[in-house]
């Protein structure tokens, strides 16, 4: 066991935890003022609920001893047998419990990411039930496939350094599926203006996400050393590159905005996630640029469609994660990380093919499973608040509170 590696994983875990409140601010600032608390509440409640479920059964489903490449066994249910000593399989230089918690923070934020699709109209109870089902039936299996020892996508050789498929593609694709089942906000079809209530809050949220992402990506090296440093610098560079590209695109279309820079940075961070520890840090520049361009135009296109995937989780995380997974297949270099492989630019086509396969599988599975889960929740408890509750705002109607006090 290494004290240095442990220090790095523990602080990385804290950093990733902070991302979920960061997301609460990022999303909360983007909705109308009457829904800011409700939007933030979703992330906080998911943090609470998934935080418990992870130690109870999530960890063992995702990382427990492999069952046919599909799911982890229940051996570690309630963390039984998981202790202060390192695991023999995962992160072998840090306490097993540290690895458990580090991974737990990923599960939490992945579920929270989806909430961007359903803000301003979903029933709070329905959201909780959906989240528990989705976590159990989508997140845990996919995490096992990609990261679990013996998981079938891992065996295939698909690479995902810090969660491009597991986190961003699952969340982004599921966002579209649940938005389709849930239906658009009142006024969406009529193109009613839905003005973001608090843009400084969005920027603060993006800043906390960026900050936390160093734990997310560089922490995924699971050791404190050259690989973590390489992933760290790639992470920052991609964020800068995508944020800058978003400024440029904003300028071309009319004006660069703070909302745009915040969005661009997050998209760059998403895209570098699967590749961070496999590519040369300088490759993060084109990865970030392309990510920003893809997300920007997909977002524009989406906003002209009838699906109200309100905060564009799909355009940001789904598309950003997809591009990132493919980018890993293009830019990866075994010289950076011997546990990785060479990508297209180093003459290896096979990796890109595997990445494509993994992406396709996760798109299809996440979309299908989420659609079914959403339909079931809709049938059983109903997904939407009443029309008048939506109009009044979810802060008052779901939570009996309002963000900013009276006179």
């Amino acid at each position: 066991m290494s004290a240095g590696d442990t220090a790095w994983i523990l602080i990385s875990t804290a950093l990733v935890m902070l991302m979920t409140p960061g997301l609460a601010l990022f999303y909360g600032g983007m909705v109308r003022r009457k829904n800011v608390l409700s939007t933030m509440m979703m992330s906080f409640a998911i943090l609470a609920v998934i935080g418990i479920l992870w130690v109870l059964y999530g960890y063992t489903l995702a990382f427990g001893p492999d069952k046919g490449g599909i799911i982890g066994g229940l051996n570690w249910i309630g963390l039984s047998g998981v202790g202060q000593e390192p695991s023999s399989v995962y992160a072998t230089t840090v306490p097993h419990l540290a690895f458990v918690m580090f991974q737990g923070m990923f599960a939490i934020i992945t579920v929270a990411l989806i909430t961007g699709a359903v803000v301003e109209r979903i029933k709070f109870s329905a959201l909780l039930i959906f989240s528990v089902l989705w976590f159990t039936l989508v997140y845990c299996p996919v995490a096992h496939w990609v990261w679990g020892s013996g998981g079938w996508l891992a065996e295939l050789g698909a690479l995902d350094f810090a969660g491009g498929t597991v986190v961003h593609i699952t969340a982004g694709i599921s966002a579209i599926a649940v938005a389709l089942v849930l239906g658009p906000r009142k006024g969406f079809a009529e193109k009613q203006a839905m003005e973001p209530g608090n843009i400084p809050m969005v920027a603060l949220g993006a800043a906390l996400l960026w900050f936390g992402w160093f734990g997310f990506n560089a922490g995924s090296a699971l050791t404190s050393g050259g690989l973590a440093a390489s992933a760290f610098i790639a992470t920052n560079t991609a964020a800068c590159s995508a944020a800058f590209t978003w400024i440029a695109l904003g300028w071309i279309h009319r004006r660069p905005s703070l909302l745009g820079v915040a969005t661009g940075a997050v998209v760059g961070l998403v895209a570098i996630t699967p590749a961070a520890g496999f590519v040369d840090p300088i490759a993060a520049i084109p990865i970030g640029m392309v990510a920003a361009a893809i997300s920007y135009y997909v977002m524009m296109w989406r906003s002209r469609q009838s699906v109200d995937e309100s905060l564009d989780v799909w355009a940001c995380h789904g598309m950003g994660g997809t591009w990132g997974a493919l980018a890993a297949g293009i830019f990866a270099s075994a010289a950076i990380n011997s546990a990785g492989a060479d990508g297209l630019i180093h003459g290896n086509v096979a990796l890109l093919a595997k990445q494509l396969a993994a992406v396709a599988v996760v798109w299809v599975f996440a979309f299908g499973a989420t659609w079914i889960i959403a339909k079931i929740v809709k049938a059983v408890v109903g997904l939407r608040v009443k029309g008048e509750e939506e109009v009044v705002g979810l802060d008052i109607s779901q939570h009996g509170e309002r963000a900013y006090g009276g006179i």
Partner: protein, 112 residues
């Protein structure tokens, strides 16, 4: 006594206030409002692309003046608030039946 309600651009508040002070009108009450007129709305940047808000931020100034001060007050506001572009705003005049100064209890014209 008359009440002037002037809805003007936010950035014109300071010149109007200063000009009113110049002609001896100190008392006034202002509030932030959102307005709409010929100038229908404004496009704002969304994350990618734009959206339109229907209302624009304006400032409303309420000044109660003696009848004899009405003309110059209106004139002052009008000249200082004008840019010549859409959205310069409107001024309305309303009758006031009575006024009271809370501090002293003075009523009527003495209260202004």
């Amino acid at each position: 006594m008359k009440k002037i309600e002037a809805i003007i651009r936010q950035e014109k508040l300071e010149p109007v206030r200063a000009a009113l002070e110049g002609i001896g009108i100190l008392g006034m009450t202002v509030m932030e409002v959102s307005g709409r007129g010929r100038q229908k709305g404004i496009p704002l940047q969304w994350r990618a692309g734009e959206y339109r808000v229907e209302f624009l931020p304006k400032v409303k100034i309420e000044v109660v003046v003696l009848d004899e001060d009405l003309g110059k007050a209106l004139n002052t506001i009008m000249t200082r608030a004008r840019t010549g572009d859409r959205g310069d705003g409107k001024i309305f005049v309303l009758p006031i039946e009575n006024a009271i100064r809370v501090r002293t209890g003075d009523v009527g014209e003495n209260a202004i």
